[in-house]
C-alpha cells in the first residue's frame, strides 16, 4: 500500500476525477444558465485544481525515475502541464477582469 506507484496512481486519478467533476458541473451550468463565461471558469478552475494534484503526483514520480529516458519523458510532461497551467491561470484572471468574456 505504501509503494510510491500506488500513491502516484491514486493522486493522478483524484486529479482526473476533479477535472471531470468540474466539467460535469460546467455542463450542468451550461444547461442551467447558458453563460459561456461561467462554464469556462468552472472548467478552468477544475483543470487548475486537477493540475495541482497531478503536479504533486509528478513530484512523487521523481522517486521512481531511474533511466535518462524516463527523466526526459517526465520533463516533457511536466513542461506541458506547466505551460497549460500558466495559460489557464492567465485565462482565469482575464475572465475575472474588466474585459471578461460575458
Amino acid at each position: 500500500v505504501l509503494h510510491p506507484e500506488t500513491w502516484i496512481a491514486l493522486i493522478e486519478f483524484a486529479g482526473a476525477l476533479l477535472i471531470v467533476g468540474h466539467c460535469v458541473a460546467g455542463f450542468i451550468e451550461m444547461v442551467r444558465s447558458q453563460d459561456p463565461a461561467a462554464v469556462r471558469l468552472l472548467v478552468i478552475q477544475g483543470s487548475l485544481w486537477g493540475l495541482s494534484l497531478k503536479t504533486a503526483a509528478s513530484l512523487l514520480k521523481t522517486i521512481e525515475i531511474q533511466s535518462w529516458e524516463q527523466i526526459a519523458a517526465f520533463t516533457a510532461i511536466f513542461a506541458l502541464r506547466t505551460l497549460v497551467k500558466r495559460v489557464m491561470t492567465w485565462e482565469e484572471a482575464h475572465l475575472h477582469g474588466p474585459a471578461g468574456a460575458r
Binding site: A9, V20, P36, R40, V43, S47, A73, A76, A99
Partner: protein, 130 residues
C-alpha cells in the same frame, strides 16, 4: 493501477464527447439564429446598424461557446498526460495542447476586440453619460 489508467482514458473520451456535443449544439444554435436574421423585422432599421450588431452577436456567441468547448478539450488533454507512455504519443499530445492553447488565445482576443469595439467608446471616451 492499469485499471485507473484505463478509467482515465475513458473519462478523457467522455470529456471530449461533451466538447463535441457542445460544438454541435453551438453550431445548431448559430445556424438557427442566422436564419432568423433573414426574417423581416417589425422595426426596420434604414442604416442597417442593428442588423450588423445582431450578426456580430451571433458570431460572438458562437465564438464564446467554441472557447468553452476548447476548454473541455484542454481538460481532456490534461487527463491524457497521465497516460502517455511513448515519445510519439507525448509529441502528438504536446502539439495538440499547444495548438488548442493558441486557438483559445486568438479566439479570446477576437471576442475581447469585438466587445471593446461595442462598449469601448461608451465606457472610455464619453465624459457625459447618456
Amino acid at each position: 493501477m492499469d485499471l485507473l489508467k484505463q478509467m482515465t482514458i475513458w473519462l478523457a473520451s467522455g470529456v471530449e464527447a461533451a466538447a463535441a456535443v457542445l460544438i454541435g449544439l453551438a453550431a445548431i444554435e448559430a445556424t438557427l439564429r442566422s436564419l432568423l436574421l433573414f426574417v423581416p423585422s417589425r422595426d426596420p432599421d434604414p442604416v442597417g446598424g442593428h442588423h450588423q450588431d445582431a450578426k456580430e452577436e451571433v458570431r460572438l456567441r458562437l465564438g464564446r461557446w467554441l472557447a468553452v468547448a476548447l476548454e473541455f478539450e484542454l481538460a481532456a488533454d490534461i487527463l491524457r498526460t497521465a497516460v502517455a507512455p511513448t515519445w510519439n504519443e507525448i509529441g502528438q499530445l504536446a502539439a495538440i495542447v499547444v495548438l488548442r492553447t493558441v486557438l483559445n488565445y486568438f479566439l479570446q482576443e477576437e471576442i475581447d476586440k469585438a466587445v471593446m469595439r461595442r462598449t469601448g467608446p461608451v465606457r472610455g471616451s464619453s465624459p457625459v453619460p447618456g
